[in-house]
């Protein structure tokens, strides 16, 4: 299991004029109907088994794009990305949930989105429910869930799917303290199992405590990749 980035660049084409009414005047004036934005520029990385990488950077630096490229959701414009291993995208909890369906139905739906078969979901179903602590509400449509319950179920499904690489984006900011501790415990056990964890967070203390490597991005540029302490120092001086 590994993640390798070789000169990875990602451009976005930003459409400023989305409607014809806006498009025609700007064409007549000879303006370009949008511009390219460098979301990532020449990223070079080598992440190996057992690495936990904290991704640092200001808002809009390209952190989420970085995760999306690893997840295979968006293709890089240039460069080569090699990802070996099964990915658990924890980018946003409960992304595939449907409000009208019950917790149970959503577990099966979400499990299948992560590529599991019915049998594989059956096997972890009880663990998912127990971890999320939602046994009583499992047959209630999730639209009646509180946002905390929603997050708990989302987190629980994602971490019970067998994976090698975990992508997280500010997920520990949710739920009550008790659940947060449970999440951190779970993450530490993953770390011990040698899984790759990519950890996007603004909580520098957590990053320092949890990660062994740090990646600092600013305006799409890779400023630093290496020891987590050094990455945090450079981030503070940015």
């Amino acid at each position: 299991m590994k993640i390798i980035f070789e000169n990875v660049t990602k451009h976005f084409f930003k459409q400023e004029d989305r409607t014809l009414k806006e498009l025609i005047p700007s064409l007549l004036k000879g303006l370009k109907p949008g511009e390219f934005i460098n979301a990532l520029k020449d990223i070079n990385l080598n992440i190996q088994k057992g690495d936990t990488v904290g991704v640092l950077g200001r808002n809009g630096a390209g952190k989420s794009t970085f995760l999306k490229v690893i997840a295979g959701v968006t293709k890089p414009t240039k460069g080569k990305v090699i990802v070996e291993g099964k990915i658990a995208p924890l980018i946003e909890l409960g992304a595939g949930f449907h409000p009208q369906l019950t917790g149970r139905e959503n577990i099966y739906l979400n499990g299948s989105i992560f590529g599991l078969s019915k049998k594989e979901i059956d096997e972890v179903f009880d663990d998912i429910v127990a971890f999320a602590d939602l046994k009583k509400f499992i047959d209630t449509p999730v639209k009646h869930y509180s946002s905390g319950m929603y997050m708990r179920l989302g987190f629980s499904v994602a971490v019970h799917v067998p994976f090698d690489i975990l992508l997280t984006d500010e997920i520990l900011a949710v739920g009550d303290t008790e659940f947060q501790e449970k999440c951190i415990k779970k993450m530490i056990s993953f770390k011990k199992e040698g899984k790759i964890i990519i950890f996007v967070s603004h909580a520098l203390e957590t990053v320092a405590a949890f990660c062994n490597k740090g990646l600092l991005i600013d305006k799409g540029n890779q400023i630093f990749y290496g020891d987590v302490k050094e990455a945090i120092n450079r981030y503070k001086n940015l």
């Binding site: 084409f13 999306k68 959701v73 968006t74 293709k75 995208p89 139905e105 989105i113 599991l116």
Partner: protein, 261 residues
């Protein structure tokens, strides 16, 4: 096309779940629930049948009541339009998924089309009731009916691939489609039999796969002579070409979906 079927097979459980979600969630919080799938086309048919058999009388072949004639065309036309409309919007509705998790995006398109096929089958039960009630003689060619329906589904999928992908870039597609379907509806022999079309305009109908397919579907149910195999052949080839091209465009643009949705 091989990739298409392999992806469907590998992700069959996801396909099943997305389709089930589509079907289950639609009529929640309504008293009649899924009954609406049957009621809506029935009302639509009754209104049209009333207009076109009382005010403007359209003569139909096959020696069957106008309502039966109309229903046979209307149901597959609805399947065609609803499939494409819902597939075109499906990528936008699943924005959250497209931005977060990778799986072949055609699963989303196919699941919304399969959900519409399910609706079609339910709505067809009433049609079967009509056939029974009016003692309509069914032709032996009816065994070919599913084949023609499958061709129609491939045609719909091909268009859905193209339109859904373009719609992500410019939402004009979904609005434009409504107008195109309106014109297309009248250019397809649904309300009227193809025999009413003057000879010199018939070529338009031959190049319109929906016209050929709906006409062929009717022939397989009600009899009335052999199928027009030349037109049917053209329609089948056209449908498969549209499917193949649509799928290629779709796969080519897939990597950009998360950026533009």
């Amino acid at each position: 096309m091989f990739t298409f079927f392999r992806n469907l097979y590998v992700h069959r459980y996801l396909l099943y779940n997305l389709t089930a979600r589509e079907i289950k969630s639609r009529y929640k919080q309504s008293i009649l629930g899924y009954f609406w799938v049957i009621l809506n086309p029935l009302f639509q048919m009754l209104v049209l049948a009333f207009v076109f058999s009382f005010f403007i009388k359209i003569p139909v072949a096959f020696n069957i009541p106008y309502s039966v004639f109309l229903y046979s065309g209307l149901l597959s036309w609805n399947l065609f339009v609803y499939s494409i409309t819902s597939a075109t919007n499906s990528l936008i509705e699943n924005e959250a998924l497209i931005k977060k998790v990778y799986f072949p995006r055609e699963i989303i398109i196919v699941s919304s089309v399969v959900a519409k096929i399910y609706d079609f089958l339910l709505a067809s039960t009433v049609f079967l009731g009509f056939l029974f009630y009016y003692h309509v003689n069914i032709s032996s060619l009816v065994i070919l009916y599913p084949v023609i329906l499958i061709v129609q589904i491939f045609f719909s999928l091909g268009l859905s691939f193209i339109l859904s992908a373009f719609n992500l870039f410019y939402r004009d597609v979904q609005y434009l489609m409504n107008s195109i379907f309106l014109v297309w509806f009248y250019l397809t022999p649904i309300l009227y039999p193809i025999e009413l079309v003057p000879e010199k305009y018939k070529f338009v109908y031959q190049l319109n796969p929906m016209s050929v397919l709906i006409n062929a579907q009717r022939r397989t149910i009600f009899g009335g002579g052999d199928l027009n195999y030349t037109s049917l052949f053209i329609a089948i080839i056209l449908s498969l070409v549209v499917f193949q091209i649509g799928y290629m465009i779709f796969k080519k643009l897939e990597g950009l979906f998360a950026d533009v949705v």
